[in-house]
């Protein structure tokens, strides 16, 4: 989630295809930020079951623009007693560090190592909190050890307010963000779903939907939303490409995967809270026409953006989340299914796809149990299924299908410190269980053991 930004979005053809693969596996940055706790005076458990998963209160806090605060402030008023300044007396700044050790079942080749150490795997600085009475932000700057550089990471700046209509609590607002679903409230969406952290060394399947990270970081999204009675959530917005390290303002720009016009985005969800239980069902999606598209196989069209052809992607998703939360027990069940229709008219003409259109389904089911927010275990099942398209996906048998399992145990000595041991086991990888690359490598050779330390302060 973070690495893609620092890796840059001006990557050319082959590098962009590679970047898409990496994006699907890189760790997701958490919005478990201690500056929110300092601002509100609330402990982590108010907003998180176990970080970064949000509680019902955490969802309301986020929808309300990160603006709830219980600290002193610097303020001013005009002669009519209207507020002209309302600053927190302390800047809402936080930091986060991840360090890890990875061990792959089998090295990629004779020149590679099975083991890798990442310190820091990631280091982030946050401005996370209230800016004014109705404006708040989550802005993350991240150092990534794979690129060895800093870059802008998840960003969500929002205006929010709350009113009462016919007896109903109505939160409404606008989000300006750089990653479709980063503004979302549930832990089923790609930006905030499981796994919350993954090894930089983890091999990821070649295929994934656009909304699963391929657009993140290189876009600017503006969406309006409402959250009624902390139950019904509705959001609509649009995304435009906002290239990093490049500009579309100059003729001859040949960047890849640039959104033509705007990409519409939607989100509707409903949450029931009863006793210590919470249940959500919803849908989200995006429609994006991408100029100069690249393919998972590495094919790329490089034309002027003034005239570039497009492939068109429609991602429609359904998700559900169940939580049980009390002081002793925190249980979470999440599931998401993303269906992507790929109209590959540009790639097909160029000979980069076998079919003029493909379909791709990505799904996951994850169960998590924590005891006293201290000890936890997570089990997940993930998969990608799609059309057989040898030219587009570039797999040896044309299939993009992959399935894998996730097993993780966690220990939190403090609420803001997590030690985790995670194992990823592939049942199928890029269309095959064995010899998926034609060079004798099996899906299970990509299995990976990953131990990590994750600290936020």
């Amino acid at each position: 989630m973070n690495v893609h930004l620092t890796r840059g979005f001006a990557f050319r053809a082959a590098m962009q295809a590679l970047a898409v693969l990496v994006l699907l596996s890189v760790p997701k940055s958490a919005d478990a930020v201690p500056s929110y706790a300092r601002q509100t005076g609330l402990a982590c458990e108010a907003c998180h079951t176990v970080f970064p998963a949000l509680t019902a209160f955490g969802r309301t806090f986020k929808a309300s623009g990160y603006t709830l605060f219980n600290t002193l402030k610097v303020q001013d008023i005009d002669k009519l007693a209207h507020s002209t300044l309302s600053l927190s007396d302390l800047p809402p700044v936080s930091a986060m560090v991840m360090a890890s050790q990875s061990l792959e079942a089998k090295a990629n080749d004779s020149n590679s190592s099975k083991a890798s150490t990442d310190f820091p795997q990631q280091a982030s600085l946050f401005y996370a909190g209230r800016i004014s009475d109705n404006i708040g932000a989550f802005i993350q700057i991240t150092y990534d050890d794979q690129s060895g550089s800093f870059g802008i990471d998840n960003t969500d700046i929002r205006f929010a307010d709350v009113t009462k209509i016919d007896g109903h609590s109505v939160i409404y607002g606008v989000s300006l963000n750089n990653n479709p679903t980063v503004q979302d409230l549930w832990n089923t969406v790609p930006a905030w779903g499981q796994p919350f952290i993954a090894s930089p060394a983890l091999q990821s399947p070649v295929a994934g939907a656009q909304i699963q990270g391929a657009l993140s970081g290189g876009v600017a999204g503006l969406s309006a939303y409402t959250f009624i009675d902390q139950s019904l959530y509705a959001e609509a917005g649009v995304y435009r490409s906002a290239l990093q390290g490049a500009s579309v303002a100059f003729n001859g720009n040949q960047d890849n995967n640039v959104i033509a016009g705007v990409a519409p985005y939607w989100r509707v969800a409903y949450e029931w809270d009863f006793g210590n239980h919470s249940l959500e069902v919803g849908t989200f999606g995006i429609y994006a026409e991408l100029q100069n598209p690249t393919t998972p196989a590495g094919g790329a069209i490089n034309g002027s953006l003034q005239h570039a052809p497009t492939d068109r992607f429609l991602d429609a998703s359904f998700d559900t989340q169940y939580q049980y939360t009390d002081d002793e027990t925190q249980i979470s069940l999440t599931a998401a299914w993303i269906h992507e229709h790929q109209n590959l008219s540009a790639s097909f003409v160029q000979g980069f796809s076998t079919n003029p259109s493909d379909n791709l389904d990505s799904y996951n089911v994850v169960a998590s149990y924590f005891w006293h927010r201290k000890l936890g275990a997570t089990v997940g099942f993930f998969g990608v299924n799609g059309s057989n398209d040898p030219l587009y996906f570039g797999t040896i048998n044309g299939s993009p299908n992959s399935t894998w399992g996730l097993f993780e145990v966690d220990y939190l000595p403090w609420l803001n410190v997590k030690l985790g041991l995670q194992y990823t086991a592939y049942l199928k990888f890029d269309g095959a269980t064995s010899n998926y690359d034609g060079l004798g490598r099996n899906a299970s050779d990509n299995d990976l053991l990953f131990g990590y330390l994750w600290v936020a302060f």
């Binding site: 509100t40 402990a43 603006t67 600290t71 709350v162 609590s169 902390q230």
Partner: protein, 204 residues
């Protein structure tokens, strides 16, 4: 006009500090409603009738008790885990008038009735009415009222969440929640006696 003003207070509160909406004599009720409906309700529910046993029901609670607890949160004189995690922050910027107005707001809401029923609840009713003389435990009703409706600084217990009542009794017993009176009353209370009392008093 009154409705418009109440709406304005609501708008001001969750997205800004509750302390900013200072209660005066004239606007106290509107300020309290604004704080309650924009902020407190996220945990304590609409009109104080929370849905989760993690957070107590406040509807129909004794005003003096609510005010005393908010003062204790603000001054950190109550320091059980949930007080620290949630209420120290939420109460930190409340002024005295806002506390008084909030207390009145919740006290004026219709309380939730207890369920009462079953053999376990009958045992609880007996403890509530008669205490447990062998353990030098006086009748609960002597402070909390014949119908557990509360009295002044002694809280309403009737219709509270079972999880919340149980957690508080355990916290008094272990002194995790500070109260000399309630520690004495509960220090010899057995788990089964707590279960019986909760069964009699709660509504879940």
């Amino acid at each position: 006009m009154k409705k418009l003003f109440a709406t304005a207070i609501v708008i001001a509160c969750f997205s800004s500090p509750c302390a900013a909406a200072e209660a005066t004599g004239d606007n106290a009720a509107a300020v309290a409603e604004g704080i309650a409906t924009s902020t407190c309700q996220n945990c304590h529910g609409a009109l104080g009738n929370s849905v989760s046993g993690n957070f107590p029901r406040l509807n129909g609670q004794q005003a003096d008790y609510i005010a005393a607890q908010l003062n204790n949160f603000r001054s950190h004189n109550r320091s059980d885990p949930h007080a620290r995690a949630y209420m120290w922050g939420m109460a930190s910027q409340l002024d005295d008038k806002s506390i008084a107005a909030l207390a009145q707001y919740y006290a004026s809401q219709t309380p939730t009735a207890p369920q009462k029923g079953g053999a376990l609840a009958a045992q609880g009713a007996a403890i509530f009415a008669n205490g447990a003389p062998a353990q030098n435990m006086p009748p609960c009703q002597s402070c909390h009222g014949e119908h557990a409706e509360g009295n002044g600084i002694f809280p309403r217990l009737a219709g509270q969440h079972a999880d919340y009542l149980k957690r508080q009794l355990e916290a008094f017993r272990s002194s995790l929640r500070e109260s000399d009176v309630m520690h004495v009353e509960s220090k010899d209370m057995t788990d089964s006696q707590i279960e019986a009392l909760v069964s009699y008093l709660a509504n879940d």
